[in-house]
């Protein structure tokens, strides 16, 4: 069966004044229809860059490797060059929800006008139809007084409401794939719970594929079917959500779980992962995690082991250096 989205061997590099930075290296992912793929990792691990590559939204100094493929609906997005082709993807087949909804709405244009504008670009409909679709969508995401909100500006809405409006806007073009980049991070827990439930309902209703980016493993546990754990531009472990959270193999995944304060186990000490995430300018050779790994094996320490995912159980892939380290401790 072919996947809805398939990313194969993707490298993303940025040319900067200080040199060429590897933001993402050799990533392969897939998302099926109606499935949520969660991507977790610390800031700087390349989660957002990966998502933006799918819409080719990375800035002009970006270069992709030639053998990389991002296949959506049997088309390789990386080979799109004309604006016309990209337009079909951006906001059409693929929509994105951002972390900070205040920053993603234009402040001086009414919410409704922004929703109608993108519908007119992507769908062959007139203004009145676009308006009624937008208002229905606002109602669907649980905004009371949708007609009134339609004529308001982003600053007049509260944080949770803005995020709902953002979701309504992203969904109104009926995308096949939704990229949600930390959509609940800026929200309070009670609002976060509302938004998570909303996203889950909508995925079920519209059967779209979703890539859900977050640094919060709790949120991942609640929404995702599959998880990819990223560190410094590489996927170090991926698999079904249950496997990854209950039976983690890579020392980085284990570290993330141990650093998380658990409200049901207050006696457990909080154990941070030692050290800091290295600068992408001096990315370690070999295993990227080796500079912070608490129990590295001798070969991994010197960077002699290449990064390579190995299937340890059906569907559960772990970096080969991490498997050995994981056995050590």
């Amino acid at each position: 069966m072919s996947h809805l989205l398939e990313v194969k061997n993707l490298d993303v590099k940025f040319d900067t004044d200080e040199g060429r930075i590897t933001a993402v290296e050799n990533i392969s992912l897939s998302v099926d229809q109606g499935e949520v793929l969660g991507i977790v990792g610390e800031s700087g691990s390349g989660k957002s860059v990966t998502a933006k590559s799918i819409m080719k939204l990375n800035p002009g100094n970006t270069s992709y490797n030639e053998d990389a493929e991002i296949i959506l609906d049997n088309e390789n997005i990386l080979q799109f060059t004309s604006k016309q082709d990209l337009k079909k993807i951006r906001g059409g087949k693929v929509s994105m929800i951002f972390q900070e909804p205040m920053a993603s709405f234009a402040p001086a244009i009414k919410i409704g006008a922004q929703m109608v504008e993108q519908l007119l670009i992507h769908k062959n409909i007139n203004k009145d139809e676009a308006k009624s679709i937008s208002i229905n969508m606002l109602k669907r995401v649980g905004i009371a007084d949708a007609e009134k909100r339609f004529n308001q500006y982003a600053f007049e809405l509260s944080g949770g409401m803005r995020q709902r409006a953002m979701i309504a806007m992203a969904l109104s073009t009926m995308p096949k794939l939704l990229l949600a980049d930390e959509p609940t991070t800026a929200l309070d827990v009670t609002i976060q719970a509302q938004v998570i439930n909303l996203i889950k309902d909508i995925i079920k209703e519209y059967q779209m594929g979703v890539i859900f980016i977050t640094h919060d493993l709790g949120v991942i546990a609640q929404v995702a079917d599959h998880v990819a754990v990223m560190y410094l531009g590489s996927v170090v472990e991926k698999g079904p959500v249950n496997e990854i959270l209950k039976n983690p193999k890579h020392p980085y995944t284990k570290g993330l779980l141990q650093a998380l304060p658990d409200i049901n186990n207050l006696d457990a000490p909080l154990s941070p992962i030692p050290g800091n995430i290295p600068s992408p300018l001096d990315r370690p050779t070999g295993c990227v995690f080796r500079t912070r790994c608490p129990h590295h094996n001798p070969d991994g320490k010197d960077g002699k082991i290449e990064m390579k995912l190995i299937e340890v159980e059906p569907g559960h892939w772990v970096d080969q250096c991490g498997i050995q380290c994981g056995q050590n401790g």
Binding site: A193, N197, H215, D216
Partner: protein
Amino acid sequence: MGDNLISVNNVSVNFDYQENFISKKQKIHAVNNINIKIKKGSFFGLVGESGSGKTTLGRAILGANKISSGNVIFHDDKRDYDLTNMNKQDLKEYRKKAQLIFQDPYAALSPRMTVRDIIAEPLEVMKITNSRQETDERVRDIAAKCRLNIEHLRRFPHAFSGGQRQRISIARALVSNPKFIVADESVAALDVSIQADILNLLKQLQSELNLTYLFISHDLSVVAHVCDVVAVMYLGHIVEMGPSRELFKNPKHSYTKALLSSIPSIDPEKRSEAIELKGEIPSALNPPTGCVFRTRCPKPGIDCKGGEITMGLAEVEPGHWVDQCCVL
């Protein structure tokens, strides 16, 4: 007063609000009639959603917000400071003893100053040290305590990661040798792996330097881990307060229960047990009468629905206080 460091007595903070110059002047009730006692050497947690008045209360205790009514007393070894009635000299003294750590380590540090200058600034402004040598000594001393290297002191903030920057902010807050620290969402902007590190550092410094913390956070699992006593705020009122273990094991107020159930569980098999609260926190411009939580309460009683029950804490177990509306 013995073992209390801070007593907050019936404190309210109101802000004036005028929508435009012809409309009527209104009052925003940011903090209402708060009573708390913070024990010496304790880690006092303040939780609630945005808009609940946590930060305003924290700032009022530091003397950075005007207190509209009530008073805040800081019990020092030799004397008490009454924050509502303080002259300039006293305020200067108090500033040395009570300090603030901010949320965003990227915004809190000046990009044009070296780390050494950032940490030394309070000493110079407050004229605590007399010579450059003495200043340097204290800066190095506190930097070492906050696990910063000596070589870091010559660099500028842009060279540091979020966790390191937060350690610099902590060092700056601690350099004047304060007794009381308000940490306002100090770990909210950090990655989990670094968050754990900063929390451990705060704990360690507490015992080394005899500090008392007011820890403001929206993250209940963090608060549950580090705090001894927790107060839950909603729309300017404390709705529940008690020893943190007791409060998290046995929450009484329906708001606390809803907050606790909203924390996403790390177990993928336990999905969606959240008591979903409808809507959002109402505006502090015209809060509901009576119990402020009644507009979102999942199980409002017959009496409180109409707003007949006034806000007020009742002690349900020794040290565990709950708003009376939810006790009845």
